[in-house]
């Protein structure tokens, strides 16, 4: 049975990367000093799977490297080695290195072998040091040298491998074991045919052969035993040191030749396979894949079933339709409507991933950075099961890293400066769904923003007018201002604002909003609000003259009718509405877009209060139409970007509707005044 192993290589990469995440999480949760057996076992298992898989696919560098890690972990597991901070840090670094190696293999690029060797050497030295320590100062002396293996046993090992009949039933393949052994040294394989029954009595799935293996090389006994780890319950195994003096000659010429050929064959096959695997991996890496829970797929299949039913119901109605059955038609159309909406929702859900894939990188980051800065920080993560569109996930990673880094770097104080607060600072990461959007919060209990310093900075930069009173939000808003954020002084004083404008732009690119709340001395909290998905948004249809525009529901604050006495005309600056204690600029959409036949008297239309970039503005429209889900289409593909328009969509009647770009409109409005 020939299986093309190449088709599994993609799965191997995905599983290995997941395995690395598990290892990382496990290592971080490992309390130094105390050996948490369960935790170490988890890490060990992950490492072992990666090693096994890479061995199968012939990624030798990965196998070798993982092997050293595994040996180290095994020692910890057995309690022969202490779980020191140094060991954990080295292992963490190895996880990174391994990740890079896997990526390199996947993309068919070169592995940074210097780094690999360096790390491997460090791990081995750790092992050696432990060995020498436990063997009561058996000074082998090569501690400082780059020797990467413990002292070799004299000559090698004689392995008597006698599998039980049902070895193959468990999915194990002796050939694979031999191949792995062959990587450890010079391997001679002598099969023992004594158990072979007559052909008529032979069960094709049973293993009748036994082998005598001679491994010449510097492998330790653990290493050799390890190779048989998967099969130790399914075979009789003995591993003994080779008699040192005996020279390598095999027993007889014929006996030597046959296994020799077998060996050769084996190796060549390994080589070929590896080549084709790499090719396969190179092309496959380009098309990203997504893992979808079977329940989600089932739900979609279920809904498609319902859709088919509705369709047949409708076509049956259409065969000989008369007006008596109009009720039935309406009913069926309602059902179709419901089915379509459900189907859309569920298909979208396929693209959704839990946000834990983003959050999972933070424990490590916080661990590393807080250590470097000498701060005590605890990271609290909640809501990591919140699901969010894959595209959004990819875009949100970097801004979040930036925010957490800011909190660590500037927010949380060193233990000595934390005043009455507990010495250990807390950074919280939280995600949740609320009213069709996803909210992500990054909070800390550190210094908070220095309102006065920010205000001074704002005045200096001419962003604030002297003498005027500003709300906290308006002041905090300043950290998103590009001119201020890069100013060195402010990041020293307030501790924030490095590249916050970039963060905000990234968030806006995916249609989200960002807000900051802060209390000086007690910390700050940044809230990011994101749309569930990028392809679809909830829109409010508004009419302006003959035209119909769509305002993203996310940016609408409220809609109000205007009373003439509440309007102020500011000379040369247009109109403002006194509204809830603030002055709201009015933007007449028909003027902006040159619409004909629009309502021009402010009292006869409606003002839709919208918000973007922390600014509010009132859009003057004729009237509100319905709300609907809008699938966004590109206007640029066949045309070009239009100022104030974010995109287009097809409305229910087949016409094209334009989606307003609120932050663009506000910018235009600001530039005009």
């Amino acid at each position: 049975m020939a299986i093309d192993i190449g088709q599994f290589v993609q799965t191997f990469f995905e599983e290995s990367l997941e395995g690395l995440d598990i290892m990382e999480a496990g290592l971080l949760a490992l309390p130094p000093g105390a050996a948490d057996l369960e935790q170490i076992n988890t890490i060990f298992r992950a490492a072992h799977s990666i090693k096994g898989g890479s061995g199968t696919f012939g990624f030798k560098e990965v196998t070798d490297f993982t092997h050293v890690m595994e040996t180290l972990l095994d020692k910890m597991r057995e309690g022969q080695m202490a779980v020191t901070g140094e060991a954990v840090n080295n292992l963490l670094e190895s996880v990174d290195c391994l990740r890079e190696m896997l990526m390199a293999v996947r993309q068919n690029t070169d592995i940074d072998s210097a780094r690999v060797e360096n790390l491997q050497g460090r791990l081995t030295r750790l092992l050696e040091r432990n060995n020498t320590a436990s063997r009561t100062a058996d000074a082998t002396g090569n501690l400082g040298s780059t020797a990467s293996q413990p002292p070799p046993p004299p000559g090698g090992w004689l392995i008597n491998f006698r599998p039980h009949l049902d070895l193959m039933h468990s999915g194990n393949d002796p050939v694979r074991i031999f191949r792995e052994l062959a990587t450890l040294g010079d391997l001679t394989v002598r099969p023992d045919f004594s158990r072979l029954p007559r052909l008529a009595e032979m069960q094709p799935e049973d293993c009748y052969l036994a082998w005598e293996l001679e491994l010449r090389g510097a492998a330790s006994q653990e290493v050799v035993t390890e190779v048989f780890a998967w099969v130790e319950d399914d075979c009789d195994l003995s591993i003994e040191p080779l008699a040192d003096t005996v020279a390598p000659p095999p027993a007889g010429a014929t006996a030597a030749e046959e296994p020799g050929q077998g060996e050769l064959l084996l190796e060549r096959r390994g080589g070929d396979r590896r080549k084709s695997d790499r090719r396969g991996a190179g092309t496959a890496a380009d098309s990203a894949s997504i893992r979808v829970g079977i329940d989600k797929v089932d739900a979609v299949i279920n809904l498609v079933g319902e859709l088919v039913t509705t369709q047949s119901m409708l076509s049956a109605l259409g065969v000989d339709f008369d007006m008596d059955r109009i009720d039935k038609l309406h009913e069926a159309l309602d059902q179709l409507d419901r089915n379509t909406r459900d189907l859309q929702e569920h298909v979208m859900r396929i693209r959704m991933l839990p946000i834990s894939s983003v959050f999972s990188r933070f424990p490590r980051m916080v661990h590393d950075i807080s250590e470097k800065l000498g701060k005590l920080v605890e990271l609290k993560i909640s809501g990591e099961q919140t699901e969010i569109d894959k595209t959004v996930i990819e875009k949100i990673g970097d801004p979040l890293v930036h925010l957490v880094r800011n909190s660590l770097d500037h927010g949380i104080e060193p233990p000595a400066e934390r005043g009455g607060k507990p010495a250990t600072g807390v950074i919280t990461l939280n995600a949740y769904h609320k009213s069709g959007s996803i909210f992500i919060e990054v909070g800390d209990d550190g210094r908070g923003l220095d309102r006065d310093a920010l205000r001074r900075k704002g005045l200096d930069a001419g962003l604030l007018r002297p003498g005027e009173e500003y709300s906290d939000e308006q002041i905090h808003e300043l950290i998103f201002h590009p001119g201020l954020s890069t100013a060195k002084q402010i990041s020293d004083v307030s501790g924030r604002g490095v590249g916050m404008d970039v963060v905000r732009r990234n968030i806006q690119d995916v249609g989200g909003r960002i807000q900051i709340a802060s209390q000086s001395g007690w910390g700050s909290k940044i809230t990011i609000c994101l749309p569930l998905t990028l392809a679809i948004l909830d829109g409010q249809l508004v009419s302006v003259g003959h035209d119909c525009y769509i305002i993203p529901l996310l940016s609408i604050v409220e809609s109000v009718q205007i009373r003439a006495e509440a309007i102020n005309r500011v000379a040369g600056k247009g109109e403002v509405l006194r509204f809830r204690g603030q002055h709201l600029p009015i933007l007449r959409l028909y003027e902006q877009f040159g619409a004909e036949n629009a309502v021009t008297n402010l009292e006869n239309g409606l003002l839709v209060v919208v918000e973007a970039d922390g600014r509010q503005v009132g859009l003057f429209v004729d009237d509100l139409q319905g709300q609907q889900q809008i699938s966004i289409k590109s206007l640029e593909k066949n045309f070009r970007r239009v100022a104030g328009v974010a995109g287009a969509t097809i409305l229910g009647d087949g016409r094209v509707g334009l989606i307003l770009d609120i932050s663009g409109l506000i910018r235009v409005n600001n530039a005009a005044t």
């Binding site: 040159g594 619409a595 104030g644 016409r655």
Partner: protein, 186 residues
């Protein structure tokens, strides 16, 4: 105005047959604009549709009538009369939109152009039948005309659609025009 219009459906089938029949010869779809005959390379033509109201695009040049929904794609519609600086007319039943694919720096674009009516398919078996456009000096803009062909009923001007319907160029033209207008009033 001697507008020769044919039923759209028959014309479409006619088009397909013709294209298959003479692959080696050049074929042009001819249409009428303000009494004149124009021709465009038939391979550029994607389809011909009747005029339906479109959605206006704000702050676009006047000859961009708006955008329409072409089976889910958003396609700009250009009024060719206005593009040529001719006076606009009321759209009638014979007003059609020729949907063409034009090459641009961003790859293929789909653009619709409004003309008074489509008339026929012009077969040109010999490329030498196409004459170079006359040089009118600077008085008339001939940059979109790739050649002239004389037929029994008169003359057909062959258009370079890639140039004519280049969105970038349209906006550049508009910018110059508004700048000129400002200059004139000032």
């Amino acid at each position: 105005m001697a507008t020769k219009t044919t039923d759209l459906a028959t014309l479409s089938t006619h088009l397909k047959r013709e294209v298959k029949a003479t692959a080696e010869g050049l074929q042009y779809l001819t249409f009428i604009l303000a009494g004149e005959s124009y021709g465009i390379d038939i391979l550029k033509v994607q389809e011909i549709r009747g005029w339906v109201p479109v959605t206006k695009v704000p702050n676009a040049p006047s000859f961009v009538r708006g955008v329409m929904n072409l089976r889910g794609a958003i396609v700009p519609v250009i009024d060719l009369r206005l593009r040529f600086g001719l006076e606009s007319v009321e759209y009638t039943k014979t007003t059609v939109v020729i949907v063409v694919t034009v090459r641009s720096e961003q790859g293929g674009r789909i653009v619709g152009m409004v003309v008074d009516g489509v008339s026929d398919v012009l077969n040109i078996n010999n490329a030498s039948e196409i004459k170079d456009p006359p040089d009118f000096g600077t008085a008339v803009n001939t940059e979109f005309i790739s050649g002239l062909v004389t037929i029994e009923a008169g003359m057909v001007m062959l258009l370079d659609v890639d140039r004519l319907l280049s969105i970038e160029e349209m906006f550049a033209v508009e910018a110059v025009r508004t700048a000129d207008a400002l200059h004139a009033t000032a």
